[in-house]
Subunit: 206 residues, 2 copies
DNA sequence: GTCTATATTTGGATAGAC
DNA sequence: GTCTATCCAAATATAGAC
């Protein structure tokens, strides 16, 4: 009998080609928007014809799903790389800064991951899992900093999302809103601080 | 000679039909999204065939433009209907509440007016004018309340946009974020208040 | 003004040869 | 695995009869 080779060169080549296809799709999305991806264009960019893509992906949505999975993995990796300094305000700033930078670094990726914009596309549970894990880490970290009130947590995420939303809608490519990460975090911290130091200052009953 | 009739019945009928078409387009957009509007569907809903729409609008984008104009007029009317109470915090709350309510009352309208989501569509200057006027009124009103620092103004609009963005993305139809209008406004007000009462506390030089 | 018929384009997906 | 050829569907827009 012949020994099995320890590496499967065929499988490796296949996954390289899959990665190439995904990269081409990202490129097109950055130029023409997420909805502007067409199989013809993707194929052309990797030197193929459209039908050949079906040897690597079952459908166009399967390509979106692979893109989503990649983006979610990157987001999770970034969140896990955040190391607490011990100073709550600094940690909050670092967290919001990471989120805003992640969005501005690749608006199309942000759109795919955090907004529901592609009609008919829903990420598969496997692709979604890293995103869930990342958000859970963020929640736990805020809780560790003493921010466990759900309303306060929602306010914090809204603040980040708002800076990004306004930046993208009104001045894409600029920093008029994203440069407000520090003041925004300070505003938030000053607001939740009294509740932490003086007990439940605000209403808990409702 | 015959006198001209004071009313042009033909023109009135025509503008009634145009309004019907716009209404049908809104209905479809609320069901299938802005991009889901097709001339076939719009026509069917007003009892026509698609080509007949071209007697009323030059193109599909002309329909989007008329929708944009209507939405912008409604927004302006709402902003003009806001009457200051004299209490700055109350006025700020009312302003943000109006903005959030306007968005949640018709997410698709919000999307058309305040985000750039339809590829290839740009509102005409005439349609855009009311929106510009409304934002100018809002800016002047905040300035009257003592908030003239551009950064603070941007922070305030980001706060409203953030509540809406999170609400739409994570819990469409709910109120987990939009019910935070009052706390958010209080947080903001507490942040800008010291600057107003004690002079320029925060950095102005940068 | 409205219709039928049609042009034109586009894009996802499949069949089958090589 | 990749190709050509093709299918199928959808959508905007136009031509021309009535």
């Amino acid at each position: 009998m012949l020994d099995q080779p320890t590496r499967n060169r065929r499988a490796e080549q296949r996954s390289r080609t899959r990665a190439e296809i995904i990269d081409a799709a990202w490129e097109i999305a950055r130029e023409s928007g997420l909805a502007g991806i067409t199989l013809r264009d993707v194929a052309a960019r990797v030197g193929m014809r459209a039908p050949s893509l079906y040897s690597y992906f079952d459908s166009k949505n399967a390509i979106y799903d692979a893109m989503f999975a990649e983006g979610a993995r990157d987001f999770l990796a970034g969140v896990e790389a955040l190391t607490p300094t011990g100073d709550p305000l600094t940690d909050l700033k670092n967290g919001m800064r990471f989120y805003v930078d992640f969005a501005t670094a690749d608006p199309v990726r942000y759109q795919l991951l955090f907004q529901r914009t592609i009609p008919g596309f829903e990420p598969s549970p496997e692709s979604y899992a890293p995103a869930v894990k990342a958000l859970e880490i963020a929640r736990a970290e805020l809780s560790r900093l003493g921010i466990s009130d759900p309303g306060a947590l929602d306010l914090f995420t809204a603040l980040g999302a708002g800076l990004i939303s306004q930046q993208f809608a009104n001045e894409p490519g600029g920093d008029r809103w994203t440069r407000l990460v520090d003041p925004a975090t300070e505003m938030f911290y000053a607001y939740v601080l009294p509740a932490r130091d003086q007990g439940n200052r605000r209403e808990r009953r409702q």
